[in-house]
């Protein structure tokens, strides 16, 4: 048995490609070498696998050819393709083939290593020469060592600037040789070193989660600490944090301090350089911030008339008007009305142009500086929440109302302009907005009247309820067809119907609805416009009409089900005693109307035909 090293040397791989390589390498090695690697090393400049006990010969291999009965046609071609004599082919389980004897592993390794390199599938790949190879970034060397034997390549390479080529005398010494050439090949170990370096400084945070990327941005870990001028603390904190994290991959330490990870260089020089860069970015942000503040949020809001929301949907000033209207319809109070007026003011600010992810938050900071009540500022801050399927909801009442209004408006406008999402394309974030609306209703307890949504928007939004309310979709579909006045009550109705599905009253309503619908639903065209009591001839139909008049399905769902269930025996008697399809067309039309009224009254509790028995 021997120890095998396969190393693929690359130009600097993106972090995502490193993680993809980490996930794929074990399977590729197993496919080519019949065993999973014992160690996997992935960093920006290398992808490597070490196998501790590999057989030094490849196993004998049965090479399967054409079926025996096709021997005449296909045997010669198969034999030629594999470089064996036709006479050497033998039959096994109905197929021709031959046993290829194993060979020394070293002999097979070059092609196996090549197959591993070609086997990776990166989400983004490129070509760089005419070899036809695609990879995340150019592959610049391959090193394969079987114990002390160099099978492919010559050497590995150490730290890009501090070290050059590195001799790996035997495969088993790969790690330590690289470490002495200032490369930590093990991603887990780099992560540990980074975290322990940050812990040693203390008080670090990573709200944007850049640690996972930084692990793959360095081969050699040096954690350093830097500072910036305290005057930049006047900037909104999230602006500072975004400049540090998104742009520079730094870790905020609170106040004017930050930590970062270097890959080498002289610590004082590198620290001074990084401090200078951050100071530049913050200086730039301050410049912009001060200009915005000098304008003030009122003047920014006044400029919204000149900024297009999106083509065909008017300006942001128009949007603000619509928001105020929607907020009022959602029952929002003074704070949310004021917040609606100011909500989009930061679209006119220069800082949002630089930090687009901080829209809303920047407006809120400007509102605070202008002395608006905290309820108004918080609502402006929270208007885009929830900004992901599982993200947090607004915490304040005014924030919830404004967030719902914003989503209602964006959905209504984009749908009216024909921008429905298609397949994976959702340029206006309609799905996120719809899920957000449902969550504001279900979890946030906000009453969102269904009548505020145009029909196509309502359909689209309520389809999202199916994934959010934890009952079988049929119950949500049934509830969507009900007269429930707002989104949350659709969800509650679905839950109640599901909870009550085994009760007698549910069964009664279900049966009455279903029988009425089955007969009259198809003949709805023939039904009378209105029920005419003078045409009710039989006792059974009069009893049903009286029973129907006494049914109340609004309000508490359980009581409504009980009330509606009283129709079940009356419907049964009706079908026993009355012939709907009377010869007199007027009588027939009246009876169909009666049944449709039964269905539609019970239908205010939902479309029971959606629910399978």
């Amino acid at each position: 048995m021997a120890t095998l090293l396969v190393e693929i040397g690359c130009e600097e791989l993106p972090a995502r490609a490193c993680r993809e390589a980490e996930a794929q390498l074990p399977m590729l090695v197993e496919r080519e070498l019949g065993a999973r690697p014992d160690r996997v090393f992935v960093g920006p400049r290398r992808i490597a696998a070490v196998l501790l006990d590999v057989a030094e010969r490849t196993p004998d291999e049965w090479v399967k050819g054409p079926p025996e009965q096709l021997a005449e046609k296909a045997a010669a071609g198969f034999a030629k393709r594999h470089g064996v004599e036709v006479e050497a082919l033998v039959a096994r389980e109905g197929f021709l083939g031959f046993e290829r004897p194993g060979r020394p592993l070293a002999e097979a390794l070059p092609e196996k290593a090549d197959a591993i390199v070609r086997g990776f599938a990166f989400s983004k790949s490129m070509r760089w020469d005419d070899s036809g190879l695609r990879f995340s970034r150019p592959v610049r060397w391959t090193l394969v060592k079987l114990d002390g034997e160099t099978v492919v390549g010559a050497s590995s390479f150490g730290h890009r600037f501090a070290e050059g080529a590195v001799e790996i005398p035997v495969a088993g010494e790969y790690e330590e040789r690289l470490r002495s050439a200032r490369v930590e090949p093990d991603a887990e170990e780099r992560r540990r070193q980074i975290v322990s370096g940050l812990d040693a400084i203390g008080g670090w945070s990573d709200p944007a989660g850049v640690l996972e990327e930084v692990v793959y941005l360095v081969e050699s870990v040096t954690v350093l600490e830097g500072r910036f001028d305290e005057r930049f603390l006047q900037l909104p904190e999230r602006v500072v944090v975004t400049a540090m994290q998104s742009h520079q991959r730094y870790f905020p330490l609170g106040g004017n301090r930050f930590a970062f990870v270097a890959n080498g260089g002289d610590p004082d020089t590198v620290r001074a350089g990084n401090e200078g860069v951050l100071a530049g970015r913050l200086d730039d942000a301050s410049f912009t911030f001060e200009r915005d503040v000098a304008s003030g949020i009122e003047r920014l809001a006044e400029r919204l008339g000149g900024i297009t929301f999106f083509a065909g949907a008017g300006s942001f000033a128009d949007k603000s008007e619509r928001l105020r209207d929607l907020v009022a319809k959602l029952g929002g109070g003074e704070a949310s009305l004021e917040a609606a007026r100011l909500a989009k003011a930061d679209q006119a600010s220069e800082l949002v142009r630089e930090f687009p992810d901080l829209e809303g938050h920047i407006g809120a900071e400007y509102a605070r500086l202008a002395g608006y009540p905290e309820a108004v500022c918080a609502a402006v801050d929270e208007q885009y929440l929830p900004d992901s399927a599982g993200g947090p909801l607004p915490q304040t009442e005014a924030g919830k109302v404004l967030a719902a209004a914003d989503k209602l408006d964006t959905l209504s406008v984009s749908f009216s302009l024909g921008h429905r999402p298609t397949g994976s394309r959702d340029p206006y974030g309609s799905r996120r907005a719809a899920i957000g609306l449902c969550r504001l209703a279900l979890e946030g307890g906000l009453v969102i009247p269904r009548e505020l949504m145009p029909e196509d928007v309502r359909e689209f939004v309520e389809e999202r309820l199916e994934g959010l309310v934890d009952v079988p979709v049929e119950y949500v579909r049934a509830a969507r067809a009900s007269a429930a006045p707002d989104l949350a009550s659709v969800g509650r109705l679905a839950q109640t119907l599901y909870a009550e599905r085994e009760t007698a009253s549910f069964g009664g309503v279900y049966t009455a609805y279903e029988r009425a619908d089955r007969l009259a639903g198809r003949a709805a065209d023939e039904a009378a416009e209105q029920l005419d009591h003078s045409l009710l001839r039989e006792d059974a139909e009069r009893a049903l009409a009286e029973g129907l008049a006494a049914v109340s399905v609004d309000g508490d769902v359980r009581k409504a089900l009980e009330s509606g269930a009283k129709l079940a025996p009356l419907v049964e008697r009706f079908f026993d005693e009355v012939l709907v399809m009377d010869e007199d067309p007027a009588v027939r039309a009246n009876r169909l109307r009666l049944l449709l009224d039964v269905r539609d009254t019970l239908g205010r509790l939902g479309d029971f035909s959606q629910i399978p028995r």
Binding site: E11, E12, P14, A15, R16, P44, K124, M126, R127, W128, D129, D130, S136, R137, P138, R140, R160, F161, A162, L217, V218, Q248, R249, F260, A262, N263, G264, G265, D266, T269, V270, A272, G273, N274, G276, V277, L278, A279, G280, D283, D284, F287, G306, I307, T308, F310, A311, G312
Partner: protein, 286 residues
């Protein structure tokens, strides 16, 4: 090392590497990539090595000369090696040494940055090169230009000269960069920033610009029909600049802007197709 010495050092280094030292192009470009010495020459099967300074014009980035980091006119140093040699990164790092950056003392990093220019139908994969956290070069292996796969993959290195100069001279404002002894970058360009910002943001005539866009678009089509890709390409550049001015004037909504970008991309594609056809015929102009 002052600004002009830095440029001379880069020129010297890349000339030694066998690059043809070109001069800036004669019409407004938003990036050195748009110079035909890059965009067109990187298409087709002929090897090509070039290096040049390109003044880039980005109306939206002007700040009236008041912001030390933002300008509507600044300089890139553009290098193309087509095809990219195997040691292309080492050659690039040596260029940093040529302008006095000690690779041992500084922390040089290649951070993923995938480049795309929608107006040219162009994209590539590469990095931002960081020196102690500062982006000093945009580094790209082109994959497509004008919507066509490149035949020989070129490496493009675009140095941001002001940033690089600020780094080398230890200055926190581009205006303070020493351009030549006793003369700063600000002496040369501050007034120009103020005046051009006023033009770009306040005075550029919106209706005239959109008319000129249409005219250049039409002229481009006619020149493509006459099979003259090089003059046709200049009209693409003019369209692109008109678009950027309209953008700076705030005259375009997001969707309108996307429509304009699409129109420029269509032209760039037509020109690229024609250029490739002529390259294939062996009589490529320019």
């Amino acid at each position: 090392m002052n600004f002009q010495e830095m440029i001379r050092s880069l020129e010297g280094y890349w000339a030694e590497q066998g690059c043809v030292l070109m001069q800036p192009y004669h019409t407004e470009l938003a990036a050195g990539t748009m110079n035909p010495a890059t965009f067109l020459r990187c298409l087709g099967p002929s090897p090509w090595k070039t290096a040049y300074v390109e003044p880039v014009i980005r109306p939206l980035d002007g700040r009236y000369g008041e912001n030390p980091y933002r300008f509507q006119h600044y300089f890139q140093y553009q290098v193309i090696l087509k095809p990219a040699p195997e040691d292309v990164l080492d050659r690039y790092f040596a260029s940093l040494e040529a302008i006095g950056i000690d690779l041992q003392r500084h922390d040089i990093r290649l951070v993923e940055d995938d480049w795309e220019q929608a107006t040219l139908g162009a994209w590539g994969l590469g990095w931002e090169v960081w020196c102690d956290g500062m982006e000093i070069t945009q580094w790209t292996y082109f994959q497509q230009l004008g919507g066509f796969d490149v035949e020989l993959v070129p490496a493009e290195m675009t140095y941001g000269l002001e940033r690089l100069g600020m780094f080398l001279q230890g200055k926190s404002s581009a205006f303070e960069l020493e351009w030549a002894p006793g003369v700063t970058w600000g002496d040369v360009y501050r007034e120009s920033e103020r005046e051009w910002s006023a033009y770009n943001f306040e005075l550029a005539p919106v209706e005239t610009l959109s008319r000129r866009f249409g005219e250049a678009e039409e002229e481009c089509r006619q020149l493509v029909e006459r099979r003259l890709p090089l003059p046709a390409y200049d009209q693409v550049l003019k369209c692109s600049h008109m678009l950027n001015l309209l953008d700076a004037r705030g005259a375009l909504s997001v969707t309108e802007r996307a429509a304009y970008v699409g129109r420029v991309r269509t032209l760039a594609r037509e020109v690229a197709r024609l250029y490739l056809e002529q390259e294939g015929d062996g009589d490529a102009a320019g």
